[in-house]
Symmetry: D2
Subunit: 253 residues, 4 copies
C-alpha cells in the first residue's frame, strides 16, 4: 500500500512527496525508483521522527499495522503533522486521546479502516434501503487464501443494516439445513455468505427482496489501487479539519 | 393493474374496497370474483362519477391511461376524493391546475409514473453515486415486445445522474463503432443500453466505474404486483397531505 | 402445475387435450374454464383409470406428488399410455420395474425431477467448466418460505461438478469462521450458499474462479410456467422412445 | 505480455526458459530481472534467428503484433521450433502455408487470438445454449479507452451463436429508438451492447431469455495474467501435435 501512496502522490500535481518511510536494510533507495518512476530526490528513511523533523510535511499517510499505527500517529501529532491512517485496531479511548491532541494543536487527523469510496457508498445505500426493504442477505467474495469469514466490510454493513431496519427474523421458522452451514452466518435476523475463490480480490453484493422485486447493491474491487482516490481526497480535506475523525464516510457528503 | 389494486385492498384489513370501475359489457360482476376471491358486495360499475357519488370513498386509485387520467382526476376532486394516479402524460400546466383544486378543497393527491419503491431507490442511489463516480452507463432489460427504447425509467435515471455529476463526455474520443449502435444511446456524455428479451419483465442496472473498482445498483422487477406496496403506502399517506404531489419519491424519506 | 399444463396443451395446435384429472368436489368443471380459457368440452374427472379408459390418450402428464406418482404411472402403463412424470421420490428399483413394463408394452415414459431446459443447461455447463476450473462455489436463491437448504437443484449440480473435476479441498486450511456458517455448506471440497428472500422464485449461480478471471453460469427462473417448454418437448419426444427414461437431460442433445 | 510469459515459464518446474527476445537498446538485461525475479543467466536478445540458433528451444511463444507474427512464425519453423502465437491478423492462405511447413517438418504449431480458457468456454456454452434458447443478447464491458466496439470476442461469440441457432429476428418489429443506438449493434437478428468504463478490464455476459426464465453466461477477466494458464497448456500440448492449429479451443476437449 505504501508504494501505491507514493505513486499516487507523485502523479498528482497538487501534492508533493517530501519523505518516505520504509525498510532501508538494502541501502539507500530513491522513493521514485521503488514504484518504477524517475528519481525524486526523496530517499527512503527508516526513522519516522527523523524524517518528519527534516521534511516538515503537512500530512503523514500511514498504512502500516495496528501495532505501529498508534505510536506513528502520536509522533506525527508531536511534530504538528496531520495523520491520515489506514489501519484498524484503535480503541475508543485511544481515539478520544488523539482527538484531544489534535484539538490542542489545532489540526485535523483521520483514522479510516476503509478508504474505498465505492465500499462506503455501498454500505450507506444498504442502510438506506433496509428501511424500506427489511428482507436482506449479504454475499461477499474474497480471494481463497483469506483467513477470516465473513469479511470486516460485510460485518460493518450488517451492523448498519441492523440499525436502520425494523427488527425481523427472516426465513421460514421451520427451515432445515440438509447440509450444515448452507444458510450462511446469522447476524441479527439475516444471513451473510462468504465466497472464497482465486481470481477474486474483494466484492460484495447486498440483496434486498420484496414481493415481485429485488434490489441489489454491489461493489467490486479489483485492486488495492482502488483505495487511492479516497486517500487523495482525505489528504486534501484533512487540511481544513480540526480534531480526529474516525471513518472516511465523514469526508463524503 | 386494476385487478392487482382490488386484490391488495381486499388483503389489507386497514383498507376497505367501496367501489370498482371497469368494463361492464358482460353483465354485473362482483369485484371479488374478478380477482379469484369471495364476493365482496361491490359490483363493478362503468361510470366513475356515479360510483363516487354513491360510495363516497376517501381515495380513488387510477391506473388507466394518459387520456382518461386527467378527466378522472378532475372528477375525483369534484367529489372531494383524493386521487392516486399511476399514469404518465400530465403536462406541467395540468399539474399546477390540479394542485390548485386540491388546495382549494383542502385535500391531497398523487400522480406517480412509478410506484416501485425499489426503482425509486435505484434512481436515488444512482444520483448520489454519480457525484463521486462520474463514469457511468445504464443497462435496462425489458420484455421483447416493448415498443420504446430506452425505457422511461432509464431516461429518468439518466436525467437525475446528469443533474448530480460533473459534466463529462466519457470514452475514447477516437472510439469507432464496428457495428453501428454497439455503444448504445448517447445521453449527456454517457450511454444507455436497452436489452429486450422474453422472460424479462423490467430490470435495470446502473454501473459506475473508477480506477480499480465498479459499483452497481440493480433493480429487478418480476411482476406488476411489485408496485402494490407502493400504492398501499400512497393510499395511506395521501390522507395527511394537502396539494397535488408529483412523484412517489416524495412519499419516501 | 396441472393448470399450467392444461394451458400449454390448449395453446399448442399440435397437441390435443382429451382428459384432465383433479379435485371434483365442487361439481362438474370444464378444464378450459379452470385456466381462464373458453370451454373445451373436457370435464375434469377424479378417477385416473376411468379417464384413461374413456379418452385413450397418447400421453399422461403427471405433476402430483411422490406418493401418487408411482400408482398413477402404473395405471397409465396398464392402459398403454406414455407417462410424463414431474415428481421425485421414485426408487431405483421402481424405475427398473417401470422400464420393464414400458419395454413389454413397446412404449416410452419419462420421469423428470426438473423440466427446466435452462436449469439443465446450467448443470451441464457447470460440469464441463469444472474440468478446467476446479475452484467453484454455488449460490442458490429461493423464496423465503422454502423449507430445505440447499435446494435439490444445487445438490444435483454439486454432484455433477464433483464427478467432473479433479479432487480438491478449496480455501485456506487455516480459515476461521468469525460467524458460524458464513462459509456455507460443505460438499466434497467446495461450498454451497443458500439465500432465501421474498420476491425470488428460483435462481442459481455457479461461480468458477481462477487466476485473473471468473466464469459464472446463472439461471433465473421467475415462474412455474418456465417449465412448460420442457414438458411440451417431452410430450412430443416420448412418442418415439421405448423404455422409461430418467431425467429430462436425455431429451436434449 | 512477454513479461507475463517469462514469469509463468520461470514459475513452472516442468518448463525451462532458454531464450528471451526484446528491446535491448538499454544494454544487457537478464530476463529474470525484467520480471522482478533472480537472475536466470538468460540475457534478452534482439534477433530472433540468432537466439533460436543458439538456444535450440522446443517452443517459441510470440505475443508481438500482426506484422511481426508471420515472419517470426516462419523463422521458428525454419529452426524446427514449434510456434505458439498469440496474435491475430493471419490470412487463411498464410495459415494453410504454415500448416504445410509444419507437416513437412513433422512438428506442431498454434495460432490463437484468445488464450483465455474462461472466454473460450463462455463462447462454447453460448453456442450450445443458442440451440435451445434462440432469444439472446450480448453485453460486453471493457476499459473506457478501448477504440473499437463491439469487441472481437463478442463478435466471435455472435458468429458462433448465429451458426448454432435457428434463424430469428428478435424484438418487436415496430420497436422505436427514442434515443438512437439504445438497442445496440445489430448482428444477424440479435443485439450486441458495448459498455466502456474505467476500472473494467474485459468482461462479457451472454443473456438468453425464454418464457419465465433467463440463462446467463458471464466471463470476467481482471488481468492479462489470466491468459497464462492457457499459454502453459498450449506449450505442453504442442509437443504432441502435428500441423498448424488455429484457435486454442482445439486444445480443450
Amino acid at each position: 500500500m505504501g508504494r501505491e501512496v507514493v505513486k499516487m502522490v507523485l502523479e498528482d500535481p497538487e501534492l508533493q512527496l517530501v519523505a518516505a518511510i520504509g525498510n532501508t536494510s538494502t541501502g539507500a533507495v530513491d522513493a521514485g525508483s521503488l514504484v518504477g518512476k524517475p528519481d525524486t530526490g526523496v530517499i527512503v528513511l527508516s526513522n519516522l521522527a527523523d524524517a518528519l523533523s527534516v521534511s516538515r510535511p503537512d500530512v503523514l499517510v500511514d498504512f502500516t499495522n495496528p501495532k505501529s499505527a498508534m505510536p506513528n500517529t502520536e509522533t506525527a501529532l508531536a511534530y504538528g503533522v496531520r495523520p491520515v491512517i489506514g489501519t484498524t485496531g484503535f480503541t475508543p479511548e485511544q481515539i478520544v486521546e488523539l482527538d484531544k491532541i489534535c484539538r490542542d494543536k489545532g489540526i485535523g487527523g483521520l483514522i479510516a479502516p476503509n478508504f474505498s469510496i465505492g465500499a462506503i457508498l455501498m454500505m450507506k445505500f444498504s442502510a438506506m434501503a433496509a428501511k424500506y426493504f427489511p428482507h436482506v442477505e449479504i454475499i461477499e467474495y474474497h480471494g481463497d487464501q483469506k483467513l477470516d469469514a465473513p469479511s470486516g466490510t460485510s460485518i460493518k454493513t450488517a451492523e448498519l443494516i441492523s440499525q436502520a431496519r425494523q427488527e425481523l427474523r427472516q426465513g421460514n421458522p421451520n427451515e432445515e439445513e440438509v447440509i450444515e452451514g448452507a444458510r450462511g452466518g446469522y447476524y441479527d435476523g439475516f444471513r451473510i455468505h462468504s465466497v472464497r475463490l482465486p481470481g477474486v480480490f474483494a466484492q460484495q453484493e447486498v440483496v434486498f427482496g420484496a414481493f415481485g422485486q429485488t434490489l441489489k447493491i454491489r461493489h467490486d474491487s479489483f485492486d488495492r489501487a482502488g483505495y487511492m482516490p479516497g486517500v487523495n481526497t482525505a489528504i486534501k480535506k484533512i487540511m481544513s479539519v480540526t480534531g480526529m475523525v474516525y471513518g472516511f464516510e465523514h469526508f463524503l457528503d
